[in-house]
């Protein structure tokens, strides 16, 4: 039983078709890296997998409540402390292990700081630590390494590999080399939706009338 199976998916963003004919499966322990130029539809595809949008065509098969989504925005409340932010998401998802998650993303020393006092990279690390407290098997990550330094990227790769080792899976859109050698790579450029030939909306005789 694969964690995620995508069949012949077509997606749109803002009413425009961006990708079509995308198919892939993700088994437990696997990671898939999505590549492609800006605007090809990586984020849109991930939002579909996360369940925020409905596909135009095709289908997405996965167990209910399997995916944990991490978007460009980290969903942090700046007036709450690092621990409070994480404890909230742990309570919502019914997960546990806040201390372990802080340790894994090297945030233990910052635990009682308000999130407003964190740097961009530290906020990102907190956003990623949230994945660990959700307890969900499929991580859907949208450019997870933005504003992370090299050491943090390596640390994050370790966390992802540990997650894969426990039977989890990850779907990651990224432009850089994450350092997860076992991950497969899917280039989305060939799936870019071809612009449909616009059907003539005027009657054939319209121009002739003015000719």
């Amino acid at each position: 039983m694969s964690l995620l199976a995508v069949h012949d998916l077509a997606v749109s963003r803002g009413g425009l078709r961006t990708l079509e004919g995308v198919s892939f499966t993700l088994e437990p322990g696997q990671a898939l890296i999505l590549r492609g130029p800006n605007g090809v539809g990586k984020t849109t595809l991930l939002r579909h997998v996360a369940g925020l949008q409905d596909p135009l065509e095709g289908r997405i098969e996965m167990a209910e409540d399997a995916a944990a989504y991490a978007a460009h925005a980290d969903g942090l409340k700046t007036t709450l402390t690092v621990t409070e932010n994480l404890a909230f998401w742990a309570a919502v998802f019914g997960g546990a292990g806040i201390a372990a998650a802080l340790e894994a993303m090297d945030l233990s020393a910052l635990a009682s700081r308000p999130a407003a006092a964190l740097s961009a990279g530290q906020k990102r690390r907190l956003g990623l630590a949230r994945l660990l407290v959700t307890g969900r098997p499929l991580w859907v990550l949208d450019e997870p390494t933005v504003s992370l330094d090299a050491a943090s990227v390596a640390r994050f790769a370790q966390v992802v590999r540990a997650h894969l080792g426990q039977g989890g899976a990850a779907l990651i859109a990224t432009h850089i080399d994450l350092g997860i050698p076992e991950a497969r790579v899917l280039d989305l450029s060939p799936f870019r939706a071809r612009p449909r030939r616009v059907m003539p909306s005027r009657p054939a005789g319209f121009n002739e009338a003015f000719a």
Binding site: A50, D65, A73, G75, K77, T78, F88, F93, G94
Partner: protein, 218 residues
Amino acid sequence: MIALLWRDLRLATRTGGGLGLGVAFFLILCTLVPFGIGPDRAALAPVAPGILWVGALLACLLSLDRIFALDHEDGSLDLLATAPLPLEGTVAVKALAHWITTGLPLILAAPLFGVLLQLPVQAMPWLVASLLIGTPALSMLGAFGAAITVGLRRGGMLLSLLVLPLYIPTLIFGAEITRRGAEGAATGTPLLFLAGITMAVLALIPFAAAAALRVNLR
């Protein structure tokens, strides 16, 4: 859900949470009216129930756009939508948090501000009772408006235009209860109507608001 309620209450009470803003607005409004109409008891007392209710309505409106807009900005709303909570429950909890931080302080402050407007003493319990029954509907309808306008930049103005007409039934019966209370007349009928409106709103609106959120998150 309890965790969400606690988080929203905690956010409201921290710096920049806007707690007390509604009550302060209510106070200023109730202070301005005697300046406009004159402090004469004969002039103020008849309009006091209406002014108090309109004031409570506007004060409630002030903080509505915070219900979903802040969570949408920082990405929490996307994450809440993918969380195991039903979106209808999220809407209901957020409306409840709004009521606790805005509606409840208004109810507690209303008798005090009623004195400023020369509201007769025998009307005070009815004012409190009508607000207690009516304001939950205000918060829930506001959550609906906030859900519709969540993706819009500067959606606050549009939110007011959408929500204020929906407040009319609550305003009519709420003010009527207080007016009848001031005159010593029977208040049973408007009280039942107000309670009915609030019940219907609390039962139906979470579904409508959740549907609006789903569309806006696409």
